[in-house]
Structures are given as structure tokens and as C-alpha cells.
């Protein structure tokens, strides 16, 4: 029990540190006033604009000190109110922007993970079964190539081949389209994120599989006369999945970050592309909310993976 409490406390502490750093950096290094009022914010000699600046400061509570503003923001944030966007009207609220766009990013990451897992498992099994042979070498080289390809380059290549030359997939994402065609539009971005990840998973699972295949119980299964396919898929795969599942789990948070590029290239209005736009517009509350959501996802998934460990191996709790 003590272990669980400690882990949760550490996670909360982490998120507090992340939020303080982000909040502080955004407020100290950037100038939110300029974004709300435009050029008026710099015009400090004109009495009219001084009045407007004072009003805006009050409205967005910029007249308070930094720690006070942080606590106001924090108490709102934990209650699900992410504040108002920094624009002249303050509309739409940040929560609205997030709830509209987050599902797209989540489905994109989910598709990418599904693709990576479904591809990497059979790929690793085939490679491990022929470990050291020429086909395994070729697959290792392929994996190397995929890992060395930055995801923005993959995005550009996929867009060129499948959208522009072959015309198989649409270029832009339409939020009003029916679900089926929207899923179809998510195909290339999901591939962009999923392809290099699949190569990473394959390399990991292949190593673990090869180790498992050296064990005595595999030899026993073989002498029992079981088919090679059955040994590979049933007997060897399951004990080899331990670190694979860990890495897949831990990667989910990182993939949300990876979707920034895919969403930007394929023009999908998810939280990744929104983060980039909001940074260019100095829309701090949106940036802060997205950073916090991504970091929370990251920390919570880490926590869940750790807890899953304790179920598999109680020694972890110490």
C-alpha cells in the first residue's frame, strides 16, 4: 500500500513541477498583454490605451503577482476550467477548444499504436524464427532505415506518394465528414507516427523472442512434435511480451508529442497542431492546457505501467 501512495504522490509532485515550470516560463518570457490588445499594449503614453491596458489586466487577472495567478490557474485547472483564450473576446474557452480537438489526437495515436503493434508482432516473429539468416538481416536493415527516417520526412514522402501521385487519400481533414471517411483521412498521419515506432517495437520483441527460443521448454515443445508456427505464436510469444508491453505503454505519451508533426503536415485540427498555432499566436492558456494534458497523460501512463508491474511481479513493491 505504501508503495502505491508513494508513487501517486510522486506523480502529483511531478505534475505540479511541470505546471509551475511551464506557467513560469510562459509568463516571464512572453508578453500576454500584446496578444490580447495588439499594438495598444505597447502604447503607454496614450491615456486611452492605459485605460484599456488596466481593464485587460483586470479581466485576465494579469495585475496579480505571479504566484497568485498560478494558484488561481491551478485551482481552476483541477476543476476542469482551463481559462479563457488570450484574444480580444476571450472566446472560445480553452476547455471547448480542447474537448473539440483532443479526441482527434487520441484516435490518431490509437490508430498509430494499433498499426505499430499489429505490424511489429508478426514481423518480429518471422525475423526471430530466421534469426541470423539473410531474411532477418534484410529486415534488420529495413528497421534501421525506418528508425533513421525523421517523422516529418516520412510524412512528406507519404503525402507525396499516396495523396498527390496516387490520389488514394484526401489531402485535408474535414471535421464534418462521416466517421468512416474521417478515419480514412487519419490513415496517412497514423502511418507517419506508426512506421518508425513499429520498427522500434520489432527490434525489441525480436531480441526477446530469440532469447525465449533458447529456453528448455521450447526444446520440449519441439520434441513433442508441435508445429513451428504453434511454438512461435503460442509458446514463445507470450513470455517474450513483457518488455514489449512496457515500451508500448510508455510510448503512448511520447506519441502524443509525435502527432504534432503528423497533424501539421496533414492539416488535422488536433491538439498537436493547435499547440503550434497557439504558440505562434502567444495564446498561453491554450499552450499551458495542452502541455499539461500531454504531460499528465505521460505521467499517468507511467504510473499505470508501474502498477501493472506489481501485479506481474510483486517484488517490485519491495
Amino acid at each position: 500500500m505504501r508503495y502505491y501512495v508513494q508513487r501517486v504522490a510522486l506523480a502529483i509532485l511531478l505534475l505540479l513541477a511541470v505546471s509551475m515550470l511551464t506557467f513560469g516560463a510562459l509568463n516571464i518570457l512572453g508578453d500576454p498583454l500584446f496578444n490580447i490588445l495588439g499594438p495598444v499594449a505597447g502604447d503607454v503614453n496614450n491615456p486611452d490605451s492605459i485605460k484599456m491596458i488596466a481593464l485587460a489586466k483586470k479581466e485576465f487577472s494579469l495585475d496579480r503577482s505571479l504566484p497568485v495567478r498560478y494558484f488561481i490557474w491551478l485551482s481552476d485547472f483541477v476543476r476542469g476550467d482551463f481559462g479563457v483564450t488570450f484574444s480580444s473576446t476571450g472566446q472560445p474557452p480553452v476547455s471547448g477548444v480542447i474537448s473539440e480537438r483532443l479526441p482527434r489526437t487520441i484516435s490518431l495515436v490509437f490508430l498509430a499504436q494499433m498499426f505499430a503493434v499489429l505490424v511489429s508482432i508478426p514481423w518480429a516473429i518471422i525475423a526471430a524464427a530466421r534469426a541470423g539468416k539473410i531474411s532477418d538481416r534484410i529486415s534488420t536493415i529495413n528497421a534501421f532505415f525506418l528508425v533513421a527516417m525523421p517523422n516529418f520526412a516520412i510524412a512528406v514522402i507519404l503525402k507525396f506518394v499516396f495523396s498527390l501521385k496516387l490520389g488514394w487519400t484526401p489531402i485535408t481533414y474535414m471535421a464534418d465528414d462521416p466517421l468512416r471517411s474521417r478515419l480514412f483521412q487519419l490513415l496517412l498521419p497514423a502511418l507517419t507516427i506508426g512506421l518508425p515506432v513499429a520498427a522500434v517495437y520489432q527490434r525489441l520483441l525480436r531480441t526477446d523472442l530469440i532469447t525465449t527460443l533458447q529456453q528448455d521448454f521450447i526444446l520440449l515443445a519441439r520434441t513433442k512434435g508441435l508445429s513451428k508456427t504453434r511454438i512461435l505464436f503460442v509458446h514463445a510469444l507470450r513470455p517474450s511480451l513483457f518488455s514489449f508491453i512496457t515500451v508500448v505503454g510508455l510510448n503512448t505519451g511520447a506519441l502524443i508529442g509525435g502527432s504534432i508533426v503528423a497533424e501539421t503536415v496533414f492539416r488535422i485540427p488536433g491538439i498537436g497542431s493547435t499547440l503550434v498555432e497557439s504558440i505562434f499566436r502567444n495564446d498561453f492558456p491554450v499552450v499551458l492546457a495542452i502541455v499539461m494534458i500531454v504531460a499528465s497523460a505521460f505521467v499517468v501512463i507511467n504510473l499505470l505501467v508501474d502498477f501493472a508491474y506489481t501485479l506481474i511481479d510483486p517484488r517490485v513493491r519491495r
Binding site: A25, F152, D208, G253, I256, F280
Partner: protein, 292 residues
């Protein structure tokens, strides 16, 4: 758990105890890129910013030809020489970033692994905080708030490598901190500083050095990603920026794919070389994968 599974090398795969032809090929490529990056302005390259308008060919972009090996972009600028000049910022940022990351992260990691106690707790917590941000998100966040030049972008990417490098250095130091030769050195009255520099550092440096190449590959990719999204060095040519320029408008990408694809090729070959050479060095020095 994974410790035992990864370190037990399968018997039927013989890891050759030599670096091999591929390794040297990669080293040559990276060396060539570094040479071009340093001497770009002395080499007989076309100007990367001049417009080579040619009325006989109509409106640019021009396809690759003898006079322009990689073609030109839509301002009739030579893509070949731009790709060569692009190596400058990409490699400089990659190199500076990983150097900074190793200096800061390595020092922190070795110190916290050696002294343990509260220093270790604080720096370990700092590492976890840094790792709680997805790296691209943190990089975008920081570069958006600063004046982006060669040094600041390098330092931001260096900051990102502090946590992974630091954790690795800490783990490697922990392995040696209680070994007999360290205890012996302490018995004969060596100071902590001397022990760290003379006893610990040489042992930790070997596995770390093979990871410097892998880290540099990551930094080069990260710089490319930042430039692609518009968050890298403001003035100057980078591979990521060139790729962004060639692919931003679907029309450009469709009609003049060479503008984006040649920089992609350069970036890909460089990252591949760094990865491959780093991986080879790692197997050569037999560094356990789990310490990564």
C-alpha cells in the same frame, strides 16, 4: 526482468569483434558532411541565396540538370548548394547540443551516482521532471519563448539530452562507485574529486562515448523537426527548413518534389550513418542495452 533477457546474447548470432566496412562507410559520410559544413563557403559551391533565373527554361522551379544537380526551388535558388549549406546549422546544432548535454547531464549523473543521498534525490527528480515533458513539446515551448539563434537552439536541445544522458551516467557510476578499486583508492586517502576523475570517469566514459553518436543523431533529427515546424534558427538554411519549404504547399511538392526530397536524402543518410556507427560502437564496447 528485461535485464537478463537482453544481456544473454543468443548463441547463433555471432557478434563480430570488429567495426566492419559499414561502420567506416558511415564515418566517412559523417566526416564528409562535417567537412562540407565547415568549408562550405570556401568550396566551389554556387551561392545558396542567389537566383539563377534562366529565361530559356521559363519559370522556376527548374528540374535537376547538369547546371543544377538537385534542381532549383521556386526562387531559382540552387537546391544542391542549399543542401550543402544546410549541413552547417544541422550538424553544428546537433554537435553543440549533445556536447552541452554530456557536459551538464554527465557531470550531474556522475556526481549523483557517486555521492548518492540528497544530491542524488534532487537531480533524479529533476531528470524525471524533464522526462515528463514529451521532448518535442518541451523543445517547441522553449524555442518559442527565446530569441532563436545557433547557440540558444543548441542549448535547448542540449537541455533535452540532460535527463537521458544524466540517468545513464548515474547508472554507470553506481556500478563502479562501490567496487574494490574505488574503495582501495579511498583507503589510501584519495580525495573524492580524484576518485571521480581518475577512477570513475575512465570507466564511465567508454559506454557513454558510444552513445554520443546516437545522441547526436537524435539532436539532428530534433533540430530538423523544429526547423520543419518553424522553431529553429531564424536566419540561415537548415535541412528541416528546406524540407518545409519544399512541402508546405501541396502544389510545390507535387510539381517539384526535388526541393524537399534531396534535403530529406541528406538528412536521412546523415542520421542513418550516426545511428549505425553509434550502434556498431555500442556492440563493439559491449554496452548493455538496458542501461539506455
Amino acid at each position: 526482468m528485461s535485464n537478463t533477457s537482453v544481456t544473454a546474447a543468443p548463441e547463433d548470432i555471432v557478434v563480430p569483434k570488429k567495426l566492419g566496412f559499414g561502420f567506416w562507410l558511415c564515418v566517412i559520410w559523417v566526416g564528409l558532411m562535417a567537412f562540407i559544413a565547415i568549408f562550405a563557403s570556401v568550396l566551389p559551391l554556387k551561392s545558396p541565396t542567389a537566383n539563377f533565373l534562366n529565361s530559356a527554361q521559363g519559370r522556376p522551379p527548374y528540374a535537376p540538370s547538369w547546371s543544377h544537380w538537385f534542381g532549383t526551388d521556386k526562387d531559382a535558388r540552387d537546391v544542391f548548394s542549399r543542401s550543402m549549406y544546410g549541413a552547417r546549422i544541422s550538424l553544428t546544432v546537433g554537435f553543440t547540443a549533445i556536447t552541452a548535454g554530456f557536459l551538464i547531464g554527465g557531470t550531474l549523473g556522475v556526481i549523483s551516482g557517486y555521492y548518492k543521498g540528497w544530491i542524488d534525490r534532487i537531480s533524479s527528480f529533476g531528470f524525471i521532471v524533464l522526462l515528463s515533458f514529451p521532448s518535442l513539446v518541451l523543445a517547441i515551448l522553449l524555442t518559442s519563448l527565446i530569441d532563436r539563434n545557433l547557440l540558444t537552439v543548441s542549448l535547448v536541445l542540449g537541455l533535452l539530452s540532460i535527463a537521458p544522458v544524466g540517468r545513464l551516467a548515474r547508472a554507470a557510476t553506481l556500478q563502479y562507485a562501490d567496487r574494490e578499486f574505488v574503495l582501495a583508492a579511498r583507503q589510501i586517502g584519495a580525495t573524492n574529486r580524484r576518485i571521480i576523475i581518475k577512477e570513475i570517469l575512465p570507466n564511465v566514459a567508454i559506454p557513454m562515448s558510444s552513445l554520443a553518436l546516437l545522441g547526436m543523431a537524435v539532436a539532428v533529427v530534433a533540430e530538423g523537426g523544429l526547423a520543419f515546424l518553424g522553431f529553429s534558427v531564424q536566419k540561415g538554411i537548415t535541412w528541416g527548413g528546406l524540407i518545409q519549404l519544399g512541402s508546405d504547399a501541396s502544389k510545390t511538392l507535387q510539381n517539384a518534389p526535388w526541393i524537399a526530397f534531396f534535403p530529406i536524402l541528406m538528412l536521412f543518410l546523415t542520421v542513418l550513418s550516426l545511428n549505425f556507427a553509434g550502434d556498431r560502437l555500442r556492440t563493439f564496447f559491449d554496452v548493455k542495452e538496458t542501461t539506455l
